[in-house]
Symmetry: C2
Subunit: 254 residues, 2 copies
């Protein structure tokens, strides 16, 4: 099983604090050492960093911990290989373009016998069940909506049965974003928190590190953090219900 | 105008030496300071680094100069904006998936009135003429070959008239790779060198830095470097002819 981390905000925010705790799970405080990746949206553009080294040993993870890239939508993933060899092309997040937007996808779980018909518009490059599921999702969305990107509410309504269908093949915790919003679906384990005024001090569970968010935010900032297992031990995280698909916009669950 | 750098090798090779000289052109020895990017293939996987900061000022460029990522196919680009604002989504190289492979593309030049009909399979995310040309190229290749990737020779034959058509709209120096080979087309300026046994010492034109390649290679290594303007001043670079499309495989022009 892998671990997922997502962030959705109303203003571009850096993820250094959360990523620092999360990255430790890639080989130190947990056993997810078969690669990792993180994607940051900056408007419509994406920066994607993937590495097949464990996150704790990766110079690229080190860069991200020290270089505060600001983004309104971030998806990160630490991999414990269940299907597909340890190789760069099997590292999440995956990126494809649809409707003139980049879509970023990461998955935690394991799908059994999920081998849908892919018509060629989106094809996996690697060998994971996850990338196959992503390609199928985009194919079905394009089939449904043609060449025009629908409104978020419509998109969510269309995603729900598609995601439920995939989840019938196994565990399918996922995050998906086109830079304007973040979708998160829980099969087994996903938690979120919304940080907003008045901001408090948060303390990482995985390392002796605290941040007083009131010092680094303005009263209007709102940041949702979504993660497999809570990252801090002095805040209240909300667990997703199994089967729940949430849409986060401007740091708020809709 | 921008600058392009490509590398195609028969064994995974690091590009630290060439990138060091090339990156200096991004804001120090030349005026290409509107962002930069580099893509490394590792088998079918791609690492893409893009930044809208000048390459000389970018912490990510610093990482690449110090972290020898080994690759058989690399494409790098330093941008001097002619069309499209300075934004992450306008930084080259661009990546799309076709035939279950990632395709990486970068362009130097400026296209006038190139506004082809795009059927929706590949759509630009940013606003550059370059990304539009890339999307059209992939669309036409898919239209021609359907869902099956052709052999390289067939692909080259199909690319030649497509590239010539785009070049009729302006300057179209380009590099394109799916990780198995590298295509390079010259409108105005492109040079290449093949380094192979016996390896010699090369000295960068843009900085006082030399590498004795005989110390870091084996006799079987072969490395083609393709670039807008020669990077070293003690080696003989071959200029492309205008309109020439070359295919590099395993470090050799075909």
């Amino acid at each position: 099983m892998c671990q997922l981390l997502g962030m959705n905000c109303n203003v571009p925010t850096d993820i250094v604090f959360s990523f620092t705790g999360f990255a430790l799970r890639g080989g130190r405080t947990d056993t997810h050492h078969d690669g990792w990746g993180i994607a940051f949206f900056e408007d419509a553009g994406v920066r994607l960093f993937v590495d097949h080294q464990a996150a704790v040993a990766s110079p690229i993870a080190e860069l991200i911990k020290n270089y505060p890239i600001k983004s309104k939508n971030v998806i990160a993933h630490i991999r414990k290989a269940t299907q597909g060899v340890v190789a760069l092309e099997n590292c999440h997040p995956f990126v494809r373009e649809l409707w003139g937007r980049y879509w970023v996808f990461a998955h935690n779980g394991d799908l059994k016998s999920f081998d849908p018909l892919l018509d060629g518009a989106f094809r996996p490059v690697g060998t994971t069940d996850s990338e196959r599921a992503f390609c199928w999702l985009l194919q079905e969305l394009r089939r449904r909506f043609g060449d025009t990107r629908p409104e978020l509410a419509e998109l969510r309504a269309a995603l729900q049965p598609l995601v439920a269908h995939i989840a019938s093949h196994g565990t399918f915790n996922l995050m998906l974003s086109d830079g304007s919003a973040l979708f998160a679906h829980c099969s087994t384990s996903l938690h979120y928190i919304v940080r907003q005024f008045p901001f408090l001090t948060a303390k990482l569970s995985d390392e002796d590190l605290s941040v007083d968010f009131s010092q680094v935010t303005t009263p209007n900032d709102r940041v949702a953090v979504i993660v497999t297992q809570p990252l801090t031990d002095n805040e209240t995280w909300t667990a997703f219900a199994p089967g729940e698909l949430k849409l986060f916009v401007d740091g708020e669950p809709q």
